[in-house]
Symmetry: C2
Subunit: 381 residues, 2 copies
Amino acid sequence: MARPLTATERLDWLQLARSGGVGPRTFLKLLQRFGSARRAFEELPRLAREAGSEERWRRCRRDEAEAELEALGRLGCELLAWSEPGYPRRLAEIADPPPLLAVQGRADLLAAPAIALVGARNASANGRMLAQNLARDLAAAGLVVVSGLARGIDTAAHEGALAAPGLTIAVIASGIDVPYPEDNAPLMARIAATGSVVSERPLGAVPQARHFPRRNRLIAGLSLGVVVVEAAPQSGSLITARLAAEQGREVMAVPGSPLDPRHRGTNQLLRDGATLVESAADVLSALGPLGAVPKASNPRPRPSRAPAPDPPRLPLPAATAAGGDVLGRVQECLGPEPLLVDELIRQCHASTAEVQRALLELELDGRLERHPGNRVSLASA
Amino acid sequence: MARPLTATERLDWLQLARSGGVGPRTFLKLLQRFGSARRAFEELPRLAREAGSEERWRRCRRDEAEAELEALGRLGCELLAWSEPGYPRRLAEIADPPPLLAVQGRADLLAAPAIALVGARNASANGRMLAQNLARDLAAAGLVVVSGLARGIDTAAHEGALAAPGLTIAVIASGIDVPYPEDNAPLMARIAATGSVVSERPLGAVPQARHFPRRNRLIAGLSLGVVVVEAAPQSGSLITARLAAEQGREVMAVPGSPLDPRHRGTNQLLRDGATLVESAADVLSALGPLGAVPKASNPRPRPSRAPAPDPPRLPLPAATAAGGDVLGRVQECLGPEPLLVDELIRQCHASTAEVQRALLELELDGRLERHPGNRVSLASA
């Protein structure tokens, strides 16, 4: 049975999560293997020696973890751990849930029926209007609207939900104390006042390109489904949609004229089987009973936190999607220097699809950087 | 084996086809029952007496038929009969092919691989541009572009095909000597000069609202598939798409923003399973091998007209789609006075779908008029 962490355990989790080389998948594997964050943390130096990369596995100091936890407290943020009852179950189900989630505002919202609205930063005026209207109507129907606080569609979605008036969650790719883009600092404050702002990143962290795809898995993971409003081919919104599909969530897209490249991605989603939506009614109908909001408890109250006697039981995180050997070969071939993806495919003796899958996995783990001209490199730590 | 009609037989066919009460389905049933148009024509008075409606079954006089055939000849038009080898096979396959088809220009085009492009009359500038580009690229790929000479999307489709330069067919709801809309008379002449103009209606006939849905079955029937570019809900283009689906042809639609009502119909088609197309490549890929244009014979030469010894064998026309009894009850309930469709459904003791199906059938036979407020009446003869 899940129980809240003790103060000491929360520090242990934070120390392990903030140590070098410990991404979400690794965290949960270590937790599984060693039974507690404390013991896993203590094993890190040995693991680093075995792996021959002591620098990469730099351990977070106790005082650093204490300082972050205190600062979070001063900001009025909660730090939810994956094993705790307050951690949203939908997010816990994904292949790589964040071990720790900083939440500013109402943490109970994360468990409520939610729908993600995402799309292009450079959205058209029509696209922004559509997103705003959809968000307003979905929020008025009692759904929580999840988005990423970016310019364009994301901003319109948050604004629409707030105008309903309704509830919205911003999942950000920076530390929870770092508004990004800066222009949206007032919007972020308004969201935190009635809804919630969520981040898995350390306090003070600034976002880099590689953090956005990782953030997108949280947007999908918190939601029953994802609606994409305007998206260019190869855009981040399509990554969100793909992750949502992999997580078994409903993928929806708003159609648009082929003359505007901002619709190519959404139209491709429709071709690939996404549900075509033009209105909130279409979204609610696609979600079916999942999207039905309980009248009496809207949004659902937070589950009680009565401590349970047993320690949390830790299921293994889902297996990685790409074959382990292709992922390994891709990592071997890649270095800090940008390499053409075609060249990488040749060197790895794997299919294009296998290599692309491995690259997406690395990207979602924040270990890949993409460069112009279809070139990639390992991310600098 | 099919053989060309003799001059006398052609007059017989024309006389029967132009007689009162003889629509395409009735024509083929009479032909089946009596073995020749001549004998069927001679039986008309008896049939009229039996049906108690002699006025409705007014027979076309021989000199009227002769005059129409001579006038068609002066206009350089052919009159193709359903049983002749030159009659397009795809059109012959539909449930209610026209017994006679007037063709101005190249009759051999009717047998070539063709694609229909249809859509809103009050199309947006973007929609017209899309239709024009699609038609140009499809015509350049060797397909014949079929449309209805209407304002908006149809006009853009014909223009695009001509610009390729490529081949296009206009199927019109008026007599082949009556350009409609009048503004499009120059376009119609350009189409007849290199492609073809087609009509099943008598010379001099002006189009009425009820003729357009009937005409639309010919657009679909001549084509491997139908692409709808912009269509409001309940518009004629959706009838074309529905007929195409019933005829087993590929139905395709171009997506568009939900903010413009001209996209509601096309987006609904996509929701119902139409193939999403953004470019000619998408259309060609949807048609698959059907759309492959033979290199050496583009467009295919007309089949030789060597006379065959046997008289034409007349397969039964396909069964009517609606159950005979519902269609009958609907006809009994309807008169010249407009009746609410809901009231009609009550009176017929049939399901909404059955009644709507019967109404569509009547409409396609030109025997229904629709009125504002969801009311219908039998068409005045």
